[in-house]
């Protein structure tokens, strides 16, 4: 017990030390208005140590300041996938919608529900509940004994949680199936062809819902309900690489 208390205190102390950390050069650059440096350093940090919601949302802020709406929206949306309540990402998206001229589909009730936890957390929770419920049902049969009251309670609790996870899984799936338009002045096309008839204009930073891919295009639905096709390279899925893709860089042969 004493060793456990010591470990806990050490962990708390390390957290406290983390709070008293020094300001990183990237943050200093951001505060000075050198957003390009901030983006570069935060990107390096993400490649070395992996991403977190705070790092992605900070990167999104810097990208937005540089006028790269698409990259900024990708960063913020990905930050929200990691932490649905990240205040920096939420503020950034609100600002982009209100003053930045971008559009984002209104979340459905399932997406609002799903944003309570991350998609992976919903899946882990649902899987755990499934296995607990399954074992609670099967084990007494294998042992040829009547299920105890504790078993019944656990089974009901697990099944209830599993049912509650279903809309979360559904909403999380549709949340991560969205994409951000990365190109400026893109036309939504009627058909997935090279010379498809333009239907509607979408712009960089707009968030769209994606559907099936076909012929190098993806069927998308815009925030105002218009449906059409966009080229695969014109959008970037929110669930994908940790940092926004560099569309100017040609793919390796």
């Amino acid at each position: 017990m004493r060793s456990f208390a010591c470990l806990f205190l050490c962990w708390m102390a390390s957290l406290g030390a983390a709070e008293d950390r020094a300001i990183s050069p990237a943050e200093i650059a951001y505060q000075k208005g050198d957003y390009a440096t901030a983006v570069e350093q935060w990107s390096d940090e993400a490649r070395q140590n992996g991403v977190s919601s705070g790092l992605l949302s900070a990167l999104g802020n810097a990208e937005w300041r540089l006028g790269r709406k698409g990259r900024a929206m990708v960063c913020w949306e990905r930050a929200l996938l990691l932490d649905p309540r990240d205040p920096v990402a939420l503020a950034g998206i609100r600002h982009a919608l209100a003053a930045g001229g971008t559009e984002r589909p209104a979340p459905t009730w399932a997406e609002t529900y799903a944003s309570f936890l991350t998609e992976d957390t919903w899946l882990i929770l649902a899987t755990t509940c499934f296995w607990v419920a399954t074992l609670c049902i099967i084990v007494p049969r294998l042992r040829r004994r009547a299920a105890s009251e504790w078993n019944h309670r656990t089974r009901v609790l697990a099944l209830t949680l599993l049912v509650l996870c279903i809309p979360g899984l559904w909403g999380g799936r549709s949340l991560s199936a969205r994409a951000v338009v990365r190109k400026v002045e893109v036309s939504l096309r009627l058909t997935p062809t090279l010379f498809g008839e333009p239907l509607n204009g979408v712009t960089e930073g707009d968030v769209v819902r994606t559907g099936r891919p076909l012929n190098g295009h993806v069927r998308v639905t815009t925030a105002d309900g218009k449906t059409g096709w966009l080229r695969t390279g014109e959008i970037e899925l929110i669930r994908g690489a940790t940092l926004p893709a560099d569309l100017d860089q040609k793919a390796a042969p």
């Binding site: 990237a26 992996g50 209100a98 509607n200």
Partner: protein, 558 residues
């Protein structure tokens, strides 16, 4: 001279004495029941020629709840007497009612009238339904500024009287506007004979106000001959205190523009459902319900990249309790487009709740080709020339260290996209299914032991057949008989659910009906005879083929 003065004073005193006017009144009946009609007659005798009284209705002020109207006056031009007749209706509450003193204005003289008292008592027998009467129909609740309140005055005939006309409706409604919408309409059949005057009332300010309505109805006795002139008038008056409030600000939606009532979105229609690009079509939304329909401000529909929206006016006549909102839509792009949604909020005075009315969009297929470029106006036209774009100031301060270390190094793929996750779960599930199947199978075998027993017997018989064939090739009759007898015993025991060693020739005959007993005896003697005597069982003819056939037959039974 002194006598002359005295006589003059006496004469003047006499003249003064004659100058006192005499006023008397009479109410018939003296005591009335609540709501009962009565007649008031005022008789005036003066020392001058009176002529006709003027503006009597303005001078006389009946008490609250009492209707009183001058119905006529009898004046002779050469007489100093006048008789004024009033018709009235007693108040609905019991009590003593006093008509305050007032002044009769004659051409040459003003004559004061003392207060007049009327007693209203419930003890008076009076059949109200026999008389013509007036009823005010107005909801009793809190009203709201801007609301349209529909009310009516029902002039209902009775058993003895019928209403033939009405006139002189006057209203005193401070804080309200009143408009008569229908006058002298026949009453619905269920209310009997009579007339109906409908009106609309709109509160224009908050507070408690009094609505006063009065008028006169012309009634006729039902037993009056058809060409007789038995008409007479009867006044009516209503005073109602109304409480008016503003529509509550709490919970008031931003798109509420003054709609008060109970409405419903009836339908949305378009004049053409397959227009071309640029072809104007008319969108008509039909709203029904009760409330201030006429005062609703048509909701604004902003234009978008699909539609240009222009306001329009409806030429069709609108029915009561129905309102059209009409717009002209010009499609800008081809394809299947949805008309703009039309929505606004209303306030229901009965439930005191706000609700939202929404006309759902309908699909319109727009044909034709899109213009080369659609210019979307996103700049503020009111902004000054050269103004700098608004600086993005809504970003929060970044906190890159935010988040616990467990979120570091998030994989590029989600768990749902991970093959290892699903394959691991699949393997676990498959293992669980195999384990469950195995346990169930073992349980089944435990519940049916004959399966294992017969399986074992089949195995033993198969090996016995092989051993017997081997013994036969060697010429070892004893070994042949031993393996055959053991196989027969095992097979019979499996079929009879008995011990193997206890199986005798009789048991084998039960299992294999028709088997030759000598063959069995010979086999058993050859197999077990040595136990009892050396060389026993060696005699007899070799019948190996028959024995093997017997074993195969037993095998087929298992």
């Amino acid at each position: 001279m002194r006598r002359f003065l005295a006589s003059t004073v006496l004469l003047l005193l006499g003249l003064l004495a004659r100058a006192e006017d005499r006023v008397s009144w009479e109410i018939t009946p003296r005591v009335t029941a609540p709501g009962q009609p009565f007649r008031l007659q005022i008789m005036v005798e003066s020392d001058v020629l009176l002529g006709g009284a003027q503006q009597v209705d303005r001078e006389i002020r009946p008490p609250r709840g009492m209707a009183l109207r001058l119905s006529g006056q009898l004046v002779r031009p050469d007489s100093n007497e006048a008789t004024l007749n009033f018709s009235g209706v007693a108040p609905d509450q019991e009590g003593e009612y006093v008509i305050p003193a007032f002044t009769l204005r004659f051409a040459r003289k003003l004559i004061p009238v003392t207060p007049i008292k009327l007693i209203v008592s419930n003890s008076v027998a009076y059949q109200r339904t026999a008389q013509a009467r007036a009823e005010l129909v107005l909801p009793e609740r809190t009203f709201y500024v801007g609301e349209l309140i529909r009310g009516a005055i029902h002039l209902r005939g009775g058993d003895d009287e019928s209403v033939v006309a009405s006139f002189g409706l006057e209203s005193i409604a401070e804080g309200f506007t009143l408009a008569v919408t229908a006058d002298r309409q026949p009453l619905p059949a269920k209310l009997g004979q009579g007339m109906r005057t409908s009106f609309e009332l709109t509160p224009i300010r908050e507070g408690t106000s009094e609505l006063s309505l009065r008028g006169t109805m012309l009634i006729q006795n039902t037993d009056t001959p058809a060409f007789g002139n038995g008409n007479r008038d009867r006044p009516f008056t209503f005073r109602r205190k109304l409480v008016v409030e503003h529509v509550p600000e709490r919970g008031r939606p931003a798109d509420w523009t003054g709609a008060i009532g109970a409405f419903s979105a009836e339908a949305v229609q378009v004049s053409k459902d397959r227009p071309e690009v640029g072809e104007p079509i008319r969108l008509r939304a039909i709203l029904t319900g009760t409330g201030n329909l006429d005062r609703l401000i048509p909701p604004e529909i902003p234009g978008n990249e699909s539609w240009d929206v222009l306001p329009a006016t409806e030429r069709r006549r609108q029915a009561e309790e129905q309102r059209f909102f009409v717009y002209t839509l010009v499609p800008r792009l081809p394809g299947k487009l949805l008309t703009p949604a039309l929505r606004f909020s209303t306030f229901d005075p009965l439930t005191k709740q706000f609700s939202r009315i929404e006309f759902k969009p309908i699909e319109v297929t727009v044909t034709g080709n899109a213009p080369a470029q659609v210019d979307l106006v996103t700049a503020d036209p009111a902004a000054p020339v050269g103004a700098k774009p608004q600086v993005a100031a809504g970003l929060a301060a970044p906190a890159p260290q935010r988040g616990t270390p467990i979120f570091r190094g998030v994989p590029t793929l989600s768990l749902a996209s991970s093959g290892a996750f699903w394959s691991g779960n699949g393997l676990l599930l498959a293992g669980l299914l195999v384990l469950t199947g195995g346990v169930l199978y073992l349980g089944y075998l435990a519940a049916h032991p004959e399966i294992r027993r017969r399986r074992r017997a089949r195995s033993i018989i198969r090996s016995a057949l092989l051993e017997a064939a081997s013994a036969r090739r060697r010429g070892d009759r004893h070994a042949f008989a031993q393996s055959a007898v053991r196989a027969l015993q095992v097979g019979a025991a499996a079929l009879l659910d008995a011990e193997e060693a206890a199986m005798t020739q009789g048991d084998l005959e039960r299992v294999l009906p028709g088997v030759p007993r000598p063959l069995l005896d010979e086999l058993f003697a050859r197999a077990y005879g040595n136990r009892f005597a050396e060389g026993a069982g060696e005699a007899g003819l070799p019948r190996e083929d028959e024995t093997l056939e017997l074993l195969r037959r037993l095998q087929s039974l298992l």
